[in-house]
């Protein structure tokens, strides 16, 4: 009987504990107080401050031997195996790095790490996750870089461009991380035309065949007359007919009618778009840029794209391509709407699309495979029906991944020195080209600045080259620096690498600075949470409704769905999204010191449109 009572008491205690323990565990944790600026007030460790007379990492004690945890919140980021670059970092700083990544990109691992109060030393997350970045800073999970650098790495301010630091600064003027892949105005050589971020590509053999056909269609003066979308009659040089929406549709119909099929060399779609996701389709963004749909009003105010008449017209044109049948097949295959990334990739790799608006850098290997199989894709531009030159966003931006030092890091004084080292020119050369003397050497000439060693060139493409570690530690890589220093010949490059780097380069003549559109909404604003919730739902709705508009049976049905969508957007608090976007847009323009942001309205803008060069400026092809 005593045993039974004991057992009953034990089980009762377990059940009671099950309710009491979580309550005790949720006692608020080590939540730091929130300051007047809306950010957590942090206390910094009491390590000796570092002077600025030499590189901060040179102050790291020679006997330093520590391992840090670096969590990269991107499942596809390849964790580098032990290599010479990592060994050199260890040699210079005494720091070994242990990397981890999540299995999926749904944010669950980061949420679990935070919930478990078990933060790594460094967290790298995508700069596009503005709410996560802001919450990490606001709620005291990461240190601000300014204070860390002032105390322990003063030379970091020389190595990370000022405009990058300012771009990511919150309302309190502090920056909470250092990004990679940023394009600072300090690094971009004057007069350099950067490549566009998106691009349109066309299968060269089919394009050439169509052009020959178009030449036959031309009158004696080399012009082709056609009925424009607004019903008027227009004419254009035969070479550029395909660059008009009307001409492209005719070319697409002609090619699909002639080559539709699953056999060798045949195509299954005339225009391939990117994967449709619940957050929209990247191809539509690129097409809006080709159609020169402004992101700004004539008064210099922010303009929301989806609700613009020009954007609606663009959707109707795509709807026309989706509903126009040639031999029973639509110009944009219905398959496109359910394809995954791999599905889109296989269409490109197999040369199954006449033209594609899928983001070229996302499918570089697929384009290379197609070329190997004899289906080379070349760049192509398209304009709106009015004939405005494309206004494409160039590749510049202020970063892809943000690297932040967490408040659980035991030695932030040393980790900020590691950041300083990797951000310096010495560190960048290590990250980009490997160890000096091993994989590269300085050249005596002004250009190229570095030359790969014979040893590296012999190893290239083998496991031996992977052990050298070039480009594996790209978490603080400044690509523009790499571009400035890399050899200006095809030295060290394979033909496939040169091809990939040139994919959309001829379109650079139409590419402009779009930095202002990468504005960051103030996450400390009390309306931010509501804004963020609304934005997620709005993007999802647009993603969902766009597929309906494109697949509508007729233009009138597409118009009806579009109007319905605009009404639904209003119900989902579009007004708040536009309000906060407008505020952020104005603040960004102020930060950049510009009054007019839309490139075509800027002073000194020269219309670069050349209809006789439908592929853009092919002379811009690089040999490296």
């Amino acid at each position: 009987m005593k045993g039974r009572r004991l057992l009953t008491s034990f089980l009762a205690a377990v059940c009671a504990g099950a309710f009491v323990l979580p309550a005790a565990a949720c006692g608020g944790g080590n939540m730091p107080p929130i300051g007047d600026d809306g950010m957590a007030e942090l206390t910094y460790p009491d390590f000796e401050e570092t002077p600025s007379d030499k590189n901060s990492w040179e102050y790291i004690p020679e006997d330093n031997d520590m391992t840090i945890e670096w969590y990269v919140d991107v499942s596809s980021w390849p964790i580098p195996a032990e290599n010479d670059v990592l060994r050199k970092i260890k040699e210079e700083t005494g720091i070994s790095i242990h990397f981890t990544t999540p299995v999926q990109d749904d944010g669950q691992k980061l949420a679990t790490i935070i919930a478990g109060d078990d933060l790594p030393d460094i967290i790298s997350t995508m700069t596009s996750k503005t709410q996560t970045l802001a919450s990490l800073a606001q709620q005291g999970y990461v240190y601000d870089i300014n204070t860390l650098a002032e105390k322990w790495a003063p030379t970091l301010f020389e190595n990370v461009p000022e405009d990058v630091m300012e771009w990511w600064a919150y309302g309190n003027g502090k920056t909470y991380g250092i990004p990679n892949h940023y394009y600072s105005y300090e690094d971009i050589p004057e007069g350099e035309q950067l490549q566009p971020n998106g691009g349109m590509m066309v299968r060269k053999d089919l394009f050439d065949e169509w052009q020959a056909h178009a030449e036959e269609m031309a009158d004696d003066s080399g012009m082709i007359s056609y009925q424009a979308l607004d019903g008027s009659t227009k004419s254009v040089e035969w070479q550029g007919y395909i660059t008009t929406p009307e001409g492209f549709k005719e070319a697409a119909s002609w090619v699909l009618g002639k080559y539709y099929g699953s056999g060798k060399g045949q195509i299954t779609t005339a225009l391939q778009l990117s994967q449709f996701t619940d957050q929209g389709n990247a191809s539509l963004e690129w097409l809006a840029q080709f159609f020169a749909i402004p992101f700004e009003t004539q008064d210099g105010e922010y303009k929301y794209r989806f609700t613009q008449e020009e954007y609606a017209e663009m959707l109707y044109w795509l709807n026309d391509l989706c509903s126009t049948r040639v031999g029973g097949n639509t110009l944009i295959s219905r398959d496109n709407f359910t394809q995954t990334y791999d599905g889109v990739g296989s269409v490109i790799a197999g040369g199954k699309a006449f033209a594609t608006l899928a983001t070229p850098q996302d499918y570089q290997m697929h384009f290379a495979t197609a070329k190997d199989d004899g289906y080379e894709y070349v760049s192509l531009y398209i304009t709106n029906s009015d004939g405005d030159a494309p206004v494409l966003a160039d590749i510049r931006g202020y970063g892809y991944l943000m690297n932040m030092i967490t408040t659980d890091c035991e030695r932030p004084d040393l980790v900020i020195k590691l950041f300083d080292y990797l951000s310096s020119e010495e560190g960048q050369r290590l990250v980009c080209f490997g160890v000096e003397g091993e994989s590269w050497n300085w050249t005596d000439e002004e250009e190229p600045k570095i030359a790969y060693t014979e040893d590296y060139l012999a190893l290239k493409g083998t496991q031996g080259a992977a052990d050298l570690g070039l480009m594996t530690m790209d978490l603080l890589l400044n690509y523009q620096y790499y571009d400035n220093v890399q050899p200006r010949t095809n030295h060290g490059k394979t033909e496939a690498e040169v091809f990939r780097s040139n994919l959309k380069r001829p379109l650079s003549v139409y590419a402009y600075d779009y930095n202002v559109t990468h504005f960051v909404v103030d996450a400390t604003d009390e309306r931010f949470q509501e804004y963020n919730n609304a934005l997620t739902r709005i993007n999802a709705l647009i993603g969902q409704q766009t597929t309906k508009i494109l697949q509508a049976a007729s233009r009138s049905e597409a118009e009806q769905i579009y109007q319905q969508t605009v009404e639904l957007l209003e119900k989902r608090n579009l007004a708040l999204v536009i309000e906060l976007n407008s505020e952020a847009y104005r603040a960004t323009k102020e930060k950049l010191g510009i009054a007019v942001a839309w490139p075509a309205w800027q002073e000194g803008y020269v219309d670069p449109l050349d209809r006789t060069q439908p592929n853009g400026d092919l002379s811009l092809y690089r040999t490296y």
Partner: protein, 330 residues
């Protein structure tokens, strides 16, 4: 003769129950070593449930707090302000609310109607197979898909139903359809894809419990029925089905209580922007709008709502089953 045997078995069971009840009232035996072992094993389950099922219930507080945007759930629970029923109201006011409920209930009801009885029929028919070797072969083949992940299994169907390179293109080529049927993109097909693929993947596995129940039926019943002139159909209708009825009831009640649950990984494989109006269910909605943006309070509120409705369904299902067949799970 079958009736006699069944009646005798039932009366024996009743006698045995009565004896046990009388014994409970009169004699209280001390626990033996075996009793302690059994109680010890049962205690582990209690501890498991207490720690992993009851302790997390504390987190339900979050449903009534304004904890969206907090990175640390513990802090959100303890520090965030109370917001009463705001999170629930926000969900009810969501423009997609009715679509999500319709999809969740519609898809699950169809699954209950189709995917619930088919494994039972499959088990019954498998049991009727004469050749043991063939029976084992059929069972192995039908069990196998259960062990493949949805990412892989679903991928096979995505390729199979691809518009330009899959079955739709072939059907059109063979002249069986006028145009390519957009199986993956047309919302009208979505529920049927889910039902069909889950049936193919899970029918063998789902029939295991019924196969076991059928195997436990005394062979004498079938032999006696045979002597009475029963054919196969009679044996199924008067022996097999009544014998496994308690198992069917149990699983039916559990299935009813799960009417708001969908296999999220299954749905996400086939979900796309074209079919979203029929593919967005409660589970995918919570996954997409609750977790990535740290909207833990909102997600918790919807989860709690789901649990309450599920509990109601469980109780109702049990009550209805008791009324109809006299059998329930409690």
């Amino acid at each position: 003769m079958v009736d006699e045997i069944l009646t005798r078995a039932e009366s024996e069971a009743e006698t045995s129950d009565n004896t046990a009840q009388k014994g409970d009232r009169k004699i209280r035996k001390p626990w033996t070593g075996n009793d302690w072992v059994l109680v010890g094993m049962a205690s582990l389950s209690v501890i498991f449930l207490a720690v992993f099922a009851y302790a997390p219930l504390y987190g339900l507080i979050l449903a009534f707090k304004d904890g969206d945007g907090w990175l640390n759930i513990s802090q959100a629970i303890s520090v965030a302000d109370w917001c009463e029923f705001d999170n629930f109201i926000a969900f009810f006011e969501d423009p997609d609310f009715w679509d999500i409920i319709l999809n969740t209930l519609g898809l699950n009801l169809l699954q209950l109607l189709i995917n619930f009885p088919l494994p039972i029929l499959f088990a019954v028919f498998t049991a009727e197979l004469m050749s043991d070797q063939y029976k084992k072969f059929v069972q192995t083949v039908t069990f196998f898909p259960h062990f493949i992940s949805w990412a892989v299994y679903g991928g096979i169907f995505l390729s199979l139903f691809a518009l330009d390179t899959g079955l739709p293109a072939l059907l059109q080529q063979w002249g069986l359809t006028d145009s390519k049927v957009d199986i993956l993109g047309d919302p009208d097909y979505f529920w049927w894809i889910i039902i069909g693929t889950s049936l193919l993947k899970g029918m063998g596995w789902g029939s295991v419990i019924y196969v076991a129940a059928i195997a436990a039926i005394p062979q004498e019943l079938y032999e006696a029925a045979k002597m009475d002139g029963a054919n196969r159909f009679h044996k199924i209708a008067y022996i097999t089905i009544p014998s496994i009825a308690p198992t069917i009831t149990l699983f039916f009640i559990l299935s009813v209580s799960g009417l708001l649950n969908n296999g999220i990984e299954h749905l996400l494989v086939f979900q796309n922007t074209s079919n979203i109006e029929r593919s967005e269910v409660l589970d995918t909605y919570i996954y997409k709008y609750g977790i990535p943006d740290f909207r833990y309070s909102y997600a918790t509120a919807i989860g709690l709502l789901k649990s309450i409705v599920s509990l109601f369904l469980l109780v109702s299902g049990n009550w209805v089953c008791k009324k109809i067949s006299g059998k329930g799970i409690y």
